[in-house]
Symmetry: C2
Subunit: 439 residues, 2 copies
């Protein structure tokens, strides 16, 4: 593969890793190409809240000096880091005034340490909302149209990948903070099964819901990260080949469907036709009534856990917190312990039930968001389309492929049972290929 | 209350806070008294892995300069911090060679930030085992006899409090790492309901089990911390007065009882008699058979989550890890996803069932450990007596009061339903008073 230097930024992570490992290109040239892309595009996109050319090029230089046998699976590949993951060579600031002057961490967060050990260039810190918990927009814009929101809270991580500024990034999802930005910006956004990627060194919002995950422009690149994080070790048996032709494909509108706008309606219908045309055996599946309580139960759990998470911030200096975070801590009108336990235990029962349902299908498709990204940067959108999968702890990935009325991306979600992460990626790859025949 | 300077170290946290708030003693004099105690005792006990007189006295000096209206509930009170909680003015090293040269954190862990905001003196970092996950002993000894283990992994936090070096400390429990050291050293050790104290900035072992908690020499002091961390906000109704006379007291040996040694047998029988003599209505309760699977299910969950937790350490430099941690990551013979899900879902069902059982009693008593602390520092003991309560997410506190054959402390555990934390403390206070009539 011959690639001109000016086109290096378009490489997928898998392609870049291969070329750098074989010394066909240097990590420094690759990093420089991405930096040029950032310089050209980021004044408008504003995906980065911390990016230091010297820190990047020093890493690249050091990586170029390593002999081939010491090069890891991500050798020289640039990764964007949501600004709630601790990094030892960059500050971590949570888009919070409370942490505005924090310096570098003593040690990397677990996810960053794994990436760095694999030879990744920790490229910079990406824009988020305050403590990844607010829907009030940060500085970032949608790379497809700067007047539209990139969603949140993993705003910069999704925008930087969709905009070819880096091939990979990491984010977190507590409601819909990985999948929705994936849909709004137009890239793959994968939230693995809860507990498979450590949240050590990651800002806390809700312990039962917070889940780190990945962005990429190809499923192959998502798989690269899934293997790096050993998510493939959770498979009970090797993956069987999957073809849309003959596959059992469930379409699940779920209880959130009444919120869906025309763009998501159109994407849904088109996906239906495309998969049918490719020979998929479609079943429109309605979930048992109990699942309609999932979003509300998640809300109850998150409100209570957020209070525990933000108490320290509140004690340190409440004047530096968003008023909604202050009232989360101060509010006496919380869910009662009885309601919290009902929510925890209700969700636990649904997890078992969901797994049984999910195992009946090869691929399960659900909506990712209300519609394409709305105009305006103030509001990053609602999480309700994704929050059910988050609290059920199941793998969920946005698959891009459609466009809304303004021409902005719309994706759909592929989901599965707990620990079926690699199957979800495989299914996402198959439907992603089919969706993209429509363009 | 008049206290001579040489006796200041004996004050409870509640007493010290009251005296310092009213300027009857200065934070500096109090800190100096504790430092003198440390200098006298710690060459033998070795509870501290980091303790800097200047950092302590600077905090005390600054606290003394604050006007009365700016003094928090822990103003001037010294707190020991298990060396897996990030601190901005001290390094955090996890008793790991991998972190042996780490510097200060950019920001305090959530629990430390709450303590510091309340005016506590962050006194130093206490000894633990490697990543709070190993039972191979650290440097710390049992203050009652230096030839005996102080237990682990919150070894130094329990030993420092039991030895009057500080009145309070924080630790974490994933199996029995708060309650067992409480029993072995002879102090109260309280593990609250999971999720009530944030683990942000705390070394990860198992996300479903890791629970921060507190050590103190009086229940009043534990309550001081419980209120500071807003655990009292989880009560549905104000506490009703509790007296042992007429109280429904359950004694639950649980499935671990066959492991109990003569010291725990004797403590159990004596506790039985004491509570009966004080008019308690005792019921010896056998749990349904399903609860006997709890420890094994917890083990399955922890093994799998530990692998996710330690993958980053392994990737960074496996040569610096304990061989057991290396094999946790490398071991291909892990519980299968099916077994892990069976464990998660089985435990979730038992949580609901346990709460229903627990609500029938005013006080529930269970064993804390096999026996008094055994001789030898190599092995910190087994967690099985406590691990069931950890994974059920319920509040559990060691209540000291008994002695073993070598004259070392033995405690019993008081437990309750999820979110009954304040009731558990109240029950612990009542039985603690009764137990101590025996001495």
């Amino acid at each position: 593969m011959a690639v001109s230097k000016s086109e290096l930024f378009k490489l997928s992570a898998t392609q870049a890793a291969e070329l750098i490992r074989r010394d066909h290109i240097s990590a420094q040239d690759y990093a420089q190409a991405l930096l040029d892309r950032v310089r050209y595009r980021d004044p408008q996109v504003r995906a980065w809240v911390y990016l230091d050319e010297k820190v990047i090029l020093d890493q690249a230089k050091w990586l170029d000096s390593l002999p081939v046998e010491k090069r890891g699976p991500l050798h020289g590949v640039a990764v964007g880091i949501k600004d709630i993951f601790l990094t030892k060579d960059m500050p971590t600031r949570y888009y919070s005034r409370l942490h505005a002057h924090d310096g570098n961490a003593a040690a990397d967060s677990a996810a960053v340490a794994i990436l760095r050990s694999a030879g990744a260039i920790i490229f910079g810190k990406t824009a988020t909302t305050e403590f990844a918990s607010m829907t009030e927009g940060g500085p970032c814009t949608n790379p497809n149209n700067p007047k539209h929101t990139p969603a949140g809270s993993s705003s910069g991580s999704a925008a930087a990948v969709a905009d070819y500024q880096v091939p990979l990034s990491i984010g977190t999802q507590t409601g819909g903070s990985i999948v929705r930005p994936g849909s709004f910006n137009g890239c793959y956004g994968f939230k693995p099964t809860w507990g498979t990627v450590s949240t050590e060194g990651v800002g806390r919002f809700s312990i039962s819901a917070d889940t780190p995950g990945f962005y990429a422009r190809t499923v192959e690149d998502v798989e690269l990260l899934a293997r790096l994080f050993r998510i493939d070790s959770l498979m009970t048996a090797p993956l069987k080949p999957l073809s849309i032709a003959g596959a059992q494909v469930a379409f699940m509108k779920t209880h959130v469907w009444p919120n869906a706008g025309p763009g998501t309606h159109a994407a849904w219908d088109l996906a239906h036709r495309l998969i049918e045309n490719h020979g998929g055996k479609i079943e429109d599946v309605e979930l048992p009534e109990a699942f309609s309580r999932c979003s509300e139960w998640r809300e109850t759990v998150v409100i209570q856990e957020a209070r525990a998470a933000f108490l320290s911030k509140y004690c340190e200096d409440k004047s530096k917190l968003h008023v909604d975070i202050v009232s989360l801590v101060e509010n006496e009108d919380l869910p009662s312990p009885k309601e919290v336990l009902e929510a925890h235990d209700g969700i636990a029962r649904l997890r078992t039930e969901w797994d049984q349902i999910a195992r009946n299908y090869d691929i399960i498709i659900a909506p990712s968001a209300v519609d394409e990204a709305p105009e305006g940067l103030e509001d990053t959108g609602i999480a309700v389309f994704c929050s059910m999968w988050t609290i059920l702890h199941v793998p969920a990935m946005n698959v891009p492929g459609f466009k809304g009325a303004c021409g902005l991306p719309i994706g759909l979600t592929v989901v599965g049972s707990r620990y079926s992460d690699m199957e979800v990626l495989q299914g996402g790859k198959a439907i992603g290929a089919v969706f993209n025949t429509s363009q």
